[in-house]
Symmetry: C2
Subunit: 206 residues, 2 copies
Amino acid sequence: MNLPSKLIEDAVTEISRLPGIGKKTALRLALHLLKQHEAHTEALALSLTRMRQEIKYCKTCHTISDDEECSICKSHKRDSSTICVVEDIRDVLAIENTNQYNGKYHVLGGVISPIQGIGPEELTIESLVNRILESAKSEPVKEIILALSATMEGDTTAFYLGKRLKETGVSISTIARGIPVGGELEFTDEVTLGRSIMTRINYSQE
Amino acid sequence: MNLPSKLIEDAVTEISRLPGIGKKTALRLALHLLKQHEAHTEALALSLTRMRQEIKYCKTCHTISDDEECSICKSHKRDSSTICVVEDIRDVLAIENTNQYNGKYHVLGGVISPIQGIGPEELTIESLVNRILESAKSEPVKEIILALSATMEGDTTAFYLGKRLKETGVSISTIARGIPVGGELEFTDEVTLGRSIMTRINYSQE
């Protein structure tokens, strides 16, 4: 693309660095901003800069927060004996939306992925171990729920966490893999169906 | 979506004002920026602000430009007797990419659309009329090529321009509507096919 202006070319280059946005979309967005009032672009630029510069991460669970400690970690209504371990803040939001969980969280900041050069040191695993060990003094953590994606990287991370957390003596569980609600048996892939049979739930014991 | 931070909520709101970007995508983009180095976000915000504040429009053809007059209007290699009228700068880029046109351009800044409240006054039509009348003194414009979208709004604008430019006495043409190159007859809609028969090209006269 041969843009007639260096200014718009710079903007297009910067916008197209965002994931999932190509040069054509970036140009469409830039032209849109040019058509809008100048205040619109200023508000966008300011909100991005402020977010990047001023945002804090909760010192306990590492989720995004405006304060030192996030509202979930601060809350006394949430069960401190259970920690749900997730990859990033979007997973926290997804689980919160279910209204099925009343414990605390721990945001890893990613999953172990040798291809992307992410090892256990890049994640907040040490902090999780310390958090569990520290908790023993007051309100001990009893269960760790691993809510990681059902991918190779997610499984690797779950396996590593399982080994790493052994010393703490907490019980470790993982969210169920199985047929999605509304899913039909015949369209479910073999691996999922196989797992859902292996990890079947015994009604009579419930 | 109940975001745990006001800062990220503001950023998501601003990003999702862009066309084609919803709340979920906006959150993904915001989290992406948080994972990148701070300089990345700063460069993005700066390029947007600079583009919006400093960009100029060519005083002759109204395309985006870094100077008072754009490179195409300045060029002596381009044929001044032909002006191609387009909706916005993206159309200029598209036509330039064909390498089939050596005249000048005129960017309308939109098309007439009563639904969106865009009338002829919002577009650069007066400027086009003046440009044609002015040109008579030195290098007269002989032909106006209307390269507008084949939509209701495009056709309305073409019709209006045809009436408005009558007084100037220039010849007015419109780019051909027909079967796209590589298109098959049986899959072409009736309107396009009908138009392509009506506006058929006589080989023997060429």
